[in-house]
């Protein structure tokens, strides 16, 4: 039996954040959610028919978005029921993403009772001016109330912090960490803003109407957040992720360790049997395939040994556990250090090299690519 992560994509939001270029649509009414959920269920059934859940145990479930917390709890229930009917679900971690503006305590308690044990809250900032500039629906007060609610509901809490946002200062970062950690938050994801083509924020920045940090400033802010979090006992276990020891995100960690996961829903990505594929990215295409009894998959790559190795290295080096030498040898039949002598030698300064593993020193994670490209 292999472990399997299940990712369910909920591509709806009440409004679009200024920096967002993900597949999501602004919600028009409950009917569209209902249709979507029916198709999610249909997809699960088709996956089962295609044997995806055979010989696999679902050990993590993750509802991401978009804004999954927009869904009425009965929709969560229907999806989970279908999943449980069609697979062996023994999840030790079940996470849903939530927008602080769209949750209430009853909903959280109900989700808890369904088996969800973890919440990922998109707080991003506790500066109201900043939140407004990026078109988030919540303010600082609502965000802290949401965290408190999640704590009351008994969920393990993760919050997102974004750095490089308009009006953001070191002071804001400090406030964020101090205020958020007044609660029992076990996990913090810190992202640097990236300005994507076609987003409203990019347009504002291009026309000089708003200013965001340049790369060096972003790193300053990031490093400051990192320092504060570490002072509070957090470990940076991956490029963007900090947690108290033992509270690493188990589902997300599969991405770095190349464990299998199946994505369900619009544009959700999967890795199954060393094939990478994703679901079609428009509602029309996605619905059409399912209505006609086909899985809406688009194959990206059947990975050969070399690609697997390349992925393994580039992903493992994102984590603090790094490349486990014994594991590497078992998988690829080669001694990692011997195979990458030159790169190891030229990056001695940036690497932690022990008998068992090689990882990138924390202070070099933000320039990871410079190092990784010499290993692939």
């Amino acid at each position: 039996m292999k472990n399997l992560g299940v990712y369910v994509h909920i591509p709806f939001c009440l409004s679009r954040c200024a920096y967002c270029d993900f597949v999501s649509s602004v919600l028009k009414g409950d009917a569209s959610i209902c249709t979507y959920v029916e198709h999610i269920q249909k997809e699960i059934e088709l996956l089962a028919q295609n044997g995806v859940f055979k010989n696999r145990v679902v050990d993590t479930v993750y509802f991401g978005g978009g804004t999954p917390s927009l869904l009425k709890t009965r929709y969560f229930r229907s999806i989970l029921e279908t999943l449980r009917l069609n697979s062996r679900e023994e999840a030790i971690e079940m996470t849903f993403e939530a927008n602080p503006a769209t949750i209430d305590i009853e909903q959280l308690q109900e989700l808890k009772s369904m088996g969800f044990n973890r919440i990922s809250l998109g707080v991003q900032s506790l500066n109201d001016k900043t939140l407004k500039a990026i078109n988030r629906r919540h303010n600082a007060k609502e965000a802290l109330e949401a965290i408190e609610m999640a704590q009351k509901a008994g969920l393990s809490i993760s919050v997102d912090l974004m750095v490089g946002l308009p009006y953001q200062t070191n002071e804001d970062i400090k406030t964020f960490v101090d205020e958020v950690l007044k609660f029992d938050v076990k996990h913090v994801s810190v992202y640097m803003l990236s300005l994507e083509e076609g987003t409203p924020l990019k347009a504002l920045v291009d026309s000089n109407k708003i200013k965001v940090s340049d790369d060096d400033e972003k790193v300053e802010l990031f490093d400051y957040a990192s320092k504060l979090l570490k002072e509070k006992g957090f470990v940076r276990y991956e490029v963007s992720n900090f947690s108290k020891p033992g509270f690493e995100a188990k589902h997300n960690f599969k991405y770095w360790t190349r464990d299998e996961y199946i994505g369900i829903g619009l544009n959700a990505h999967s890795l199954i049997d060393e094939e990478r594929f994703y679901d079609k990215a428009t509602f029309d295409e996605y619905y059409k395939d399912l209505d006609e009894g086909r899985l809406p998959h688009v194959l990206e790559a059947k990975l050969d040994k070399d690609s697997i190795k390349e992925e393994y290295i580039m992903l493992a080096l994102r984590t603090n556990q790094g490349i486990i030498l014994k594991d590497y040898f078992e998988k690829f039949g080669k001694d990692f250090i011997e195979e990458h002598k030159i790169a190891v030698h030229s990056h001695e300064k940036e690497l932690n090299i022990s008998q068992n593993s090689i990882s990138i020193k924390e202070e070099y994670l933000n320039v990871l690519n410079q190092i990784v490209i010499d290993f692939i």
Binding site: Y7, H9, F22, G64, Y191, M192, S194, D215, D216, K218, V219, V239, S240, K254, Y255, Y261, G263, N267, A268, H269, S270, L271, R276, Y278, E300, A301, S307, E310, E311, M314, L315, S346, E350, Y364, L365, N366, V367, L368, N369, Q370, I371, V372, I373, I376
Partner: protein, 602 residues
């Protein structure tokens, strides 16, 4: 078949770049039905794409045409001449092959620098000259003023100069009529020993190196044994003929005629431009005067971006050399660039052309070092050596003094740009010689300028400062003593040999500072700080720093979309492959280009 010499006219067209020389040639060919209209590509004489694109002629291709006039058939040999300063010697040999010249002057632009240079060259060769005013179809044409300019400046009678539009092919009969009446018939004696002037050559895969010749005395036919007088080498003639413009074999070429000689010669280096061909037995003792070896003036290191393509570059140079005897090259090793070649060119245009042909025709990516000239170094031990690669310059303690080549530069400009040009020449260490008002709208400025200043983007700067109105021509004057130093660029504390240049002592600081600034902009940030230092004799005169990179990571990875990340990384890796590793520093190819374009007004 023999042609009565009195019916032969050998002539060329001289002009400034862009005044319509090739267009007029095309037009004459179409009037004489030399090329069927369907074959008439624009500017047929410019055989290489590159030349066609730049609108300039480099290679010389004669054409033999028949023209009926008053019941008689005339044979015209039109000899094309390159219009660029790099090829002055080749021009002089082509002119030698002619008895007369058509001088084209643009009806709106008037006389330009190269008009003068080429006219004087033609006059030096005792050619009769027919002035022709071209582009009279342009609204800005001012033919009367231009006629006056020709009379005042050159001293030619331009009263009857034909007014033509080569583009529309009008007025050409008048030109040809003047060719018949005003240009002399060729001299020479068929009975004397053979004297044939090689004024160009090219390589043919089947026939070997083909000499393009003007026969001055005697006759030559297939089966003859000929001797190259400069090299003493003897060959058997396999074919003689004329260009119509395709090669057309004839039984014989005789005095007064222009054509080609094939003799299974393996290398164009054995058909030297300016050499005299005679018969191996009973040949002439006296070669035609004026032969010179091709002399490269500008030198540059040429390296493949991908070091693994060294052999491809070598093959490509060999192939180009087959057709271009003036291209010189020898293997060179650079610490920064690996294995490559030091190449010698006739001038900057020649260098550009060779580099572009290597890249286009042979699909090579190249890194070229800053163009350099040949310096004479007199060492303290009395030894005199020639240095073109800055890395080969002895240490300053071993140098007694150095000499550098200086050119006499003639600049023609509308009066409003005299100030900017004088300033430019001053900046380029020029010595003012004289200034003449040719008429109210044109001034001629003459300066002596060190060649190493000309090779640093003098043309570009001149063009930008004078909005393209000024023209430049130069000729080598000789060597002069000069205070020169080697300027080194150190990256992360190590001298990068490919970036070293030789400069005048007084310019070293300024140039060092600008190179350092430019390099700072093109060297990408790396994992560590990279100091860039400019140094003379070990003393640092300028310093910049490329800060260490702070952010280079793909952070967003929602929902496990790994493929996109991998593609981005692979792209980055590809980019890195194109970098040159110098010590621990990665250098993009542009780094080596920055020092080529240093003094542009940007």
């Amino acid at each position: 078949m023999h042609f009565d010499k009195s019916k032969i006219r050998n002539f060329c067209i001289v002009a400034h770049i862009d005044h319509g020389k090739s267009t007029l040639a095309d037009c004459i060919m179409s009037v004489t039905d030399t090329v069927a209209p369907r074959d008439a590509q624009p500017q047929l004489l410019d055989s290489m794409d590159l030349e066609r694109e730049r609108g300039i002629t480099i290679k010389l291709t004669p054409v033999t045409m028949k023209y009926e006039y008053e019941g008689e058939t005339y044979l015209f040999n039109l000899i094309d001449t390159p219009g660029h300063v790099d090829f002055t010697y080749e021009v002089s040999r082509s002119l030698k092959a002619c008895d007369g010249a058509i001088l084209i002057v643009d009806a709106s632009q008037g006389i330009e620098a190269q008009t003068l240079t080429n006219v004087y060259l033609a006059l030096d060769n005792n050619l009769e000259i027919i002035p022709v005013i071209n582009k009279i179809d342009l609204p800005s044409a001012r033919p009367d003023e231009v006629k006056k300019e020709i009379e005042d400046v050159i001293g030619l009678d331009a009263k009857d100069a034909p007014l033509v539009s080569a583009k529309l092919c009008t007025g050409i009969d008048k030109v040809l009529e003047q060719v018949i009446h005003l240009l002399p018939q060729p001299q020479g004696d068929e009975a004397k020993p053979l004297k044939a002037l090689i004024f160009d050559s090219y390589y043919d895969a089947y026939k070997g190196a083909v000499s393009i010749v003007r026969i001055f005395d005697g006759k030559v036919k297939a089966g003859d044994k000929i001797k190259m007088m400069a090299t003493g080498k003897v060959y058997d003639v396999t074919e003689v003929g004329i260009f119509t413009p395709k090669n057309t074999a004839l039984d014989e070429l005789a005095a007064g005629e222009v054509g080609y000689i094939c003799a299974s010669i393996k290398n164009v280096a054995d058909t030297k431009v300016g050499d005299t061909i005679t018969l191996a037995e009973n040949g002439t003792k006296e070669p035609l005067p004026g032969f010179k070896e091709a002399q490269p003036m500008v030198f540059s290191g040429v390296y493949p971006v991908d070091g693994a393509r060294y052999d491809d570059l070598k093959d490509a140079l060999e192939k180009l050399k087959l057709n271009d005897a003036s291209l010189m090259y020898e293997p060179e090793v650079s610490q920064a660039l690996g294995f490559g070649f030091r190449c010698g060119f006739l001038g900057l245009l020649h260098m550009d052309i060779i580099q572009e042909r290597l890249e286009r025709e042979f699909d090579l990516d190249l890194i070229t070092t800053a163009p350099s000239v040949e310096y004479i170094v007199e060492k303290t031990n009395g030894e005199r050596i020639i240095v073109s690669n800055p890395s080969n310059l002895p240490s300053s303690s071993e140098i007694d003094h150095m000499e550098e080549p200086v050119v006499k530069a003639t600049l023609l400009t509308p009066p409003e740009f005299v100030g900017p040009i004088m300033e430019l020449c001053q900046n380029k260490r020029g010595t003012f010689i004289n200034m003449t008002y040719l008429d109210t709208s044109r001034v001629s400025l003459v300066y002596d300028i060190p060649l190493n200043e000309i090779v640093y983007d003098f043309f570009d700067t001149l063009k930008s400062r004078t909005k393209g109105y000024a023209s430049l021509d130069y000729e080598i004057k000789g060597y002069e003593r000069s205070s020169l130093v080697k300027l080194d660029i150190m990256l992360n504390g190590e001298i990068c040999d490919a970036l070293s240049i030789i400069v005048h002592k007084d310019r070293a600081y300024e140039r060092g500072r600008r190179i350092a600034e430019k390099l700072k902009d093109v060297i990408p940030r790396q994992l560590f700080e990279v100091p860039i230092q400019a140094a003379v004799g070990g003393k640092v005169i300028a310093r910049e720093t490329v800060k260490a990179v702070r952010k280079d990571v793909l952070a967003k990875c929602y929902g496990g979309d790994i493929t996109r990340k991998k593609k981005l990384l692979e792209k980055q890796k590809e980019g890195k492959k194109r970098m040159r590793q110098f010590g621990s520093v990665e250098l993009p190819s542009e780094a080596f280009l920055t020092i080529l374009k240093l003094d542009s007004d940007d």
